[in-house]
């Protein structure tokens, strides 16, 4: 076996040093009834070539996004990731290192986490960010729990603009914590009235911007309304590229910003792993979940970085910790921070403008589709298309796929119990789309509708 260095002679020599007659005797503490005396009845090991063959076969059973006109978003966005990102990501010192608990041999990881935290603050307009969490949905749930801790209140209101997976994850996480979650109806038209919802019992209001159905809203008044009653405004951002072009949540009064960082640096990967972004105000830093990297000096007075404020975390606080989270998404944070470094201010602004322009052009092209209408009042790079009263968008998606087009995702995939959403199709456009893609989508829609 290529990953195992021992020869039989090595093993014999080591057993002799231990004073054991065989390896089985080292397992003597395993109750005899549970000891297996031969390998489990599953296939034997394969060569590299054979493994590659097996995966190539499985990969071949998929239609990859790059091989089709592609317009799917709904929280995971397809962007061009510069080749540099993946090449640097596989450097063994990054790829094969552990959590930076030993700062003297982990300054590389610690410095990029410090840079990552800063980038997340700059993008979101917040004061402090952690070193990342599992994904946007879990970060959102953690924010709701943190808001309850900060405000000592129990009611959590989830806007109908919030990604349904974020809603479901938050509902699950809060289930046994004595909190009361009010999840509002899906809001494809951006018409929901949140101002009247917050009251003195409210710990937080969670909204998404741009919303799940595409709409962008000014959150300033909502933030004021929350603060008036002592509640926090939590804003989820599922598409960080949007922050290159639209006003960041921090500038509109958000108290906690969570997000999904996948769209920078990571590619689609069938939706996982993700990168949970989490930022807040300085005054709440000790209530934050997750790892934090901070600046300090070494014995010689040189600037260096360490994990800090760890007393919030499970390995010290145990059952009183702010969360049970132990890992972050270190390598995903690295991909994010490298992509953002390549973009810089100039590149991110350009990329965001291009994405928006692509979506505007897609909307224009879709005007040629009979009976279809974009219902999002405003949007960044994704919007909701109403296909017509009797049209089942899920059926349309299948028919488009049969024509080799990955033409968005039907709202009913998330909301099977809302018949009025059956004709709604979510469509995203990014820099990866061409004019030909858009024309192909329009003509295919005209054929299947």
């Amino acid at each position: 076996m290529r990953y195992l260095p021992h020869t039989d002679a090595d093993r014999r020599a080591m057993l002799a040093a231990i004073g054991a007659k065989d390896v089985d005797s080292l397992f003597k503490d395993v109750p005899a009834a549970a000891r297996l005396d031969q390998p489990v009845d599953l296939p034997a090991g394969l060569s590299e070539m054979a493994v590659e063959r097996a995966f190539t076969r499985m990969a071949g059973q998929n239609l990859s996004a790059g091989c089709a006109p592609f317009f799917i978003g709904a929280g995971i966005y397809r962007h061009h990731v510069p080749a540099t990102v993946d090449q640097l990501l596989t450097r063994g010192e990054f790829l094969t290192s552990y959590t930076p608990y030993q700062p003297e041999v982990s300054q590389g990881t610690l410095q990029y986490l410090f840079e990552f935290q800063t980038q997340v603050c700059l993008l979101t307009g917040m004061e402090v960010a952690n070193a990342s969490m599992y994904d946007g949905a879990t970060a959102c749930a953690e924010a709701a729990v943190m808001a309850a801790r900060v405000t000592r209140k129990k009611k959590i209101i989830l806007s109908g603009s919030l990604h349904p997976h974020y809603v479901e994850t938050t509902e699950t996480v809060t289930k046994h914590l004595g909190l009361e979650v009010e999840s509002l109806s899906p809001d494809p038209f951006g018409l929901e009235d949140l101002m009247g919802r917050v009251d003195s019992q409210t710990a937080c209001l969670v909204v998404q911007n741009p919303g799940f159905f595409g709409g962008i809203r000014d959150l300033t008044q909502l933030a004021d309304a929350c603060h008036e009653v002592g509640a926090l405004l939590v804003v989820a951002v599922a598409e960080p590229v949007s922050l290159g072009l639209i006003t960041p949540p921090g500038a509109m009064g958000a108290d906690i910003v969570v997000g999904e960082g996948q769209s920078l640096g990571m590619g689609l990967q069938f939706g996982g792993p993700g990168l949970g972004l989490f930022a807040t105000r300085d005054k709440y830093v000790r209530q934050m979940p997750g790892r934090l990297c901070g600046q300090t000096v070494d014995q010689d007075g040189k600037r260096g970085f360490v994990l800090t404020l760890s007393t919030r975390e499970q390995h010290i606080r145990r059952e009183k910790a702010t969360s049970n989270i132990c890992t972050n998404s270190g390598l995903c944070a690295l991909a994010f921070t490298m992509h953002l470094s390549l973009l810089g201010e100039t590149g991110l602004t350009r990329l965001a403008k291009l994405n928006h322009a692509q979506a505007v052009r897609l909307e224009q092209a879709l005007r040629q589709v009979k009976g279809a209408k974009v219902i999002s009042q405003s949007y960044f790079n994704e919007f909701s298309l109403y296909l017509g009263d009797d049209v089942d968008a899920a059926d349309v998606v299948e028919k488009l796929a049969a024509k080799g087009i990955l033409g968005g995702v039907a709202a009913s995939r998330f909301y099977p119990h809302w018949p009025e959403l059956r004709p709604v199709l979510l469509l995203a456009a990014t820099e990866t789309n061409t004019q030909d893609d858009m024309e192909a989508l329009v003509s295919a829609l005209n054929e299947v509708l």
Partner: protein, 124 residues
């Protein structure tokens, strides 16, 4: 003014009906460099043996329990900016909070300095 001690290594010095609470020299040494202290706000009711404050070093977090019951009259705001006061002057400027005692009889269950010193000697 008299001073009393708990088995959890808090001290309380009492003048009239007002007590000042902190952690002992033994406790600050055991914790190491204090990096954070959270003190109770004025008006908070605390009970004997109940959570009243938090003290943290780099690798440990501990609750500070109130030695007696009462109502907090002041927290030591200086600790927010200078947690090191707890190390430098545990029984002086590093105090945590003051409270109005609601049941001074509870003091009788605490140790005096000599008893506390014996207790600590037994731990080492």
């Amino acid at each position: 003014m008299s001073m009393y001690f708990t088995k959890d290594h808090e001290w309380i010095s009492v003048e009239g009906s007002v007590g000042t609470v902190g952690i002992t020299d033994y406790a600050q040494k055991a914790l190491g460099d204090i990096v954070y202290a959270e003190v109770p706000e004025k008006g908070r009711k605390v009970t004997k043996g109940g959570d009243a404050a938090v003290v943290e070093s780099v690798k440990a977090a501990s609750e500070v329990y109130s030695p007696v019951s009462g109502t907090v009259t002041a927290g030591n705001d200086a600790l927010a900016g200078q947690p090191a006061l707890v190390n430098e002057s545990p029984e002086g400027d590093g105090w945590f909070f003051k409270l109005e005692l609601s049941n001074p009889a509870e003091l009788e269950e605490l140790m005096d300095r000599a008893a506390y010193d014996d207790y600590v000697a037994g731990l080492e």
